[in-house]
């Protein structure tokens, strides 16, 4: 792992003074771009998806003069495709990017040491640890939650979403052949598939609530920068003691 020193200032040994002493380039540009495009797509998908299930009050006038539901659905489908393409590129970047880009995809669930770090993090969030560990990448609990809730949540939403989209494009479309044809029988019927796709939205919403909260909390209370790192790509640290990353 390469640690780039951003400043030429001598390393200060006086820990705990909140000074910026070294920085590591963690999130490469494609990862940051994906993060924000993905966030925007999810926002659009949640809002439009909610209004597809529970439409806005009826609009007055002739049907030929209005296309409100059509535009809402279009926004949903367009954002869905952006999310899917973004996700595929993100998977590609997990392969070719730096090792931080892979972290979320491969939590070290086979490692006992890793689970002890997860447990330590759980204790930190339960106010049972006075001090958090210091991580250059994600902390193990964050990796685990992102993997289970965001990654698999997105995979579920992309597959069920394409299956629902295939219903509209018809039995000859690739969406129907590749997704609807097996996903609908798997869920029993189209109505149940709609219901689970809707539940999936709430799953992602819950992830977003937790994600935004802990990102801000850790930015204040942990020993490294969080929010600014997803903008600049650089991880800053509040002390000079060595990091606890396992990978």
């Amino acid at each position: 792992m390469s640690v780039n020193t951003q400043t030429d200032a001598p390393i200060d040994d006086r820990a705990g003074e909140g000074q910026l002493q070294e920085a590591v380039y963690v999130y490469e540009a494609p990862v940051r771009l994906w993060h924000w495009v993905n966030a925007l797509s999810i926002l659009v998908l949640c809002v439009t998806g909610y209004f597809i299930a529970s439409p806005l009050p009826s609009v007055p006038g002739e049907a030929s003069d209005n296309f409100l539901m059509g535009y809402i659905r279009f926004a949903h489908f367009a954002a869905g495709y952006i999310l899917i393409v973004g996700f595929l590129l993100r998977v590609y970047w997990a392969i070719v990017g730096n090792h931080h880009a892979r972290q979320m995809f491969l939590p070290k669930v086979w490692s006992g040491a890793w689970w002890r770090e997860v447990w330590h993090e759980v204790r930190w969030y339960s106010f049972l640890e006075r001090e958090p560990k210091k991580y250059i990448g994600h902390n193990p609990l964050a990796t685990l939650v992102m993997h289970v809730m965001l990654l698999w949540g997105l995979v579920f939403m992309m597959i069920t979403g394409l299956a629902l989209y295939g219903e509209g494009t018809g039995m000859d479309s690739w969406q129907y052949v590749l997704f609807s044809s097996w996903v609908i029988p798997l869920f029993g019927n189209s109505q149940d598939l709609h219901t689970f796709h809707h539940l999936g939205m709430w799953y992602i919403v819950i992830f977003v609530i937790i994600h935004v909260y802990v990102a801000i909390r850790e930015d204040i209370m942990s020993r490294q920068s969080i929010v600014s790192s997803m903008i600049s790509g650089w991880r800053m640290f509040k002390d000079t003691r060595p990091a606890d990353d396992l990978d």
Binding site: P55, L68, M69, N189, S190, D192, H198, I209, Y213
Partner: protein, 357 residues
């Protein structure tokens, strides 16, 4: 030589002209090109009539009622002549042992040639004792009749999916035909009942071409079940415009707006109601102002209210829809985050205070 369909028609006094008209109409109804009409005529002139056994399990006979009302010109008279409907306990003349003997006769004489049409389904609980026909469980009759058939038609939602008798908690353990007979090709024609013209068209296709129509992955003929009611609904422009019936008898209902908010299941139901329609093409539920209830979908009785779009989630044993569940979960997490943030702030302040000393 066995009698052909054409022989029967001529015997009944139908002219060749009417016969050819019927072929053209049926070919058009099945979405086939003009050249198929002559092929169909040729097939009906040369092939012997296909014997059909029409069995009744747990059902309400709505499929039969629909079938005999098929309103295509000639169809209601002809289809019954075209196939040789040898056994159908609802409408056959024979009764008792005579009737039951026919099944054995057909199975013996027409091995691998007859079509088994199943209306209703078998209950498995108590060794099938919840449906007894001629003193024996229907399950036995079904297995016996199915052993040498060429193909099976599962009429209606009962035979295709299970329908009302298989709705939770399903005390008789009624199961669709394909759960019992697994070694024969099965065409599912779901609906409660299926559309009459769809039923006759499927029979015509199978009798004429001697093969199954093109089926989707769930075993339904693609020509009638490849699109949702919603895809061809004449109220679809109001859906796209965002114009909905908000309450029964409101202004939107009078103007014929989309019934989506009234729980119409058109967007999740595969059937031909919005194109073929009912009663000779006169109308269909949405046209008469009521939403689709999704009767041709698997498990539609267990999918909650006919009048909600977001139906209750029964998989978790919860009487709540996706929004209720999701909002409650998000609320709990949100409240948890707020409390956690509060404790974090207090803790940070107290610890900072400690450091200052």
């Amino acid at each position: 030589m066995r009698e052909t369909f054409y022989d029967v028609l001529r015997r009944q006094g139908v002219t060749r002209r009417s016969f050819l008209k019927f072929c053209s109409l049926t070919a058009a109804a099945m979405g086939m090109g003009p050249s198929m009409a002559s092929k169909m005529a040729h097939a009906l002139e040369t092939k012997p009539r296909t014997p059909v056994l029409w069995l009744h399990g747990l059902e309400c006979t709505c499929c039969s009622e629909a079938f005999i009302r098929s309103a295509h010109p000639l169809a209601k008279d002809v289809i019954l002549s075209m196939i040789s409907l040898d056994y159908d306990d609802t409408i056959m003349a024979a009764a008792g042992h005579q009737a039951e003997a026919i099944i054995e006769e057909i199975v013996r004489d027409y091995k691998g040639e007859y079509i088994l049409a199943c209306e209703g389904n078998p209950p498995l609980n108590e060794d099938g004792m919840y449906c007894i026909i001629a003193g024996k469980p229907y399950l036995d009759q079904l297995r016996f009749a199915a052993q040498d058939c060429k193909a099976i038609i599962s009429w209606g939602s009962c035979a295709s999916w299970g329908c009302v008798q298989a709705a939770r908690p399903n005390p008789t353990q009624a199961v669709p035909i394909h759960k019992v007979i697994t070694d024969k090709p099965i065409v599912k024609v779901p609906g409660c009942p299926p559309i009459p013209e769809v039923m006759t068209a499927v029979v015509t296709y199978m009798a004429t071409f001697g093969q199954l129509p093109d089926l989707d992955r769930q075993g339904r003929p693609k020509m009638f079940y490849s699109q949702r009611i919603h895809d061809k609904c004449y109220r679809r422009p109001h859906f796209d415009a965002g114009q909905f019936v908000e309450a029964w008898d409101d202004e939107g209902a009078r103007k014929g707006y989309c019934l989506y908010k009234m729980g119409c299941k058109g967007p999740t139901t595969y059937n031909a109601c919005s194109t073929v329609r009912w009663n000779g093409g006169l109308s269909f539920p949405i046209q008469s102002g009521h939403g689709c209830i999704g009767c041709s979908e698997d498990g539609f009785w267990d999918n909650g209210s006919f009048y909600d779009r977001l139906t209750n989630i029964h998989q978790f044993g919860v009487e709540a829809n996706a929004d209720d569940v999701g909002l409650a979960a998000a609320g709990v997490v949100g409240a948890g985050v707020a409390v956690h943030a509060g404790i974090s702030a207090v803790k940070r302040l107290t610890e900072k205070g400690g450091q200052d000393k």
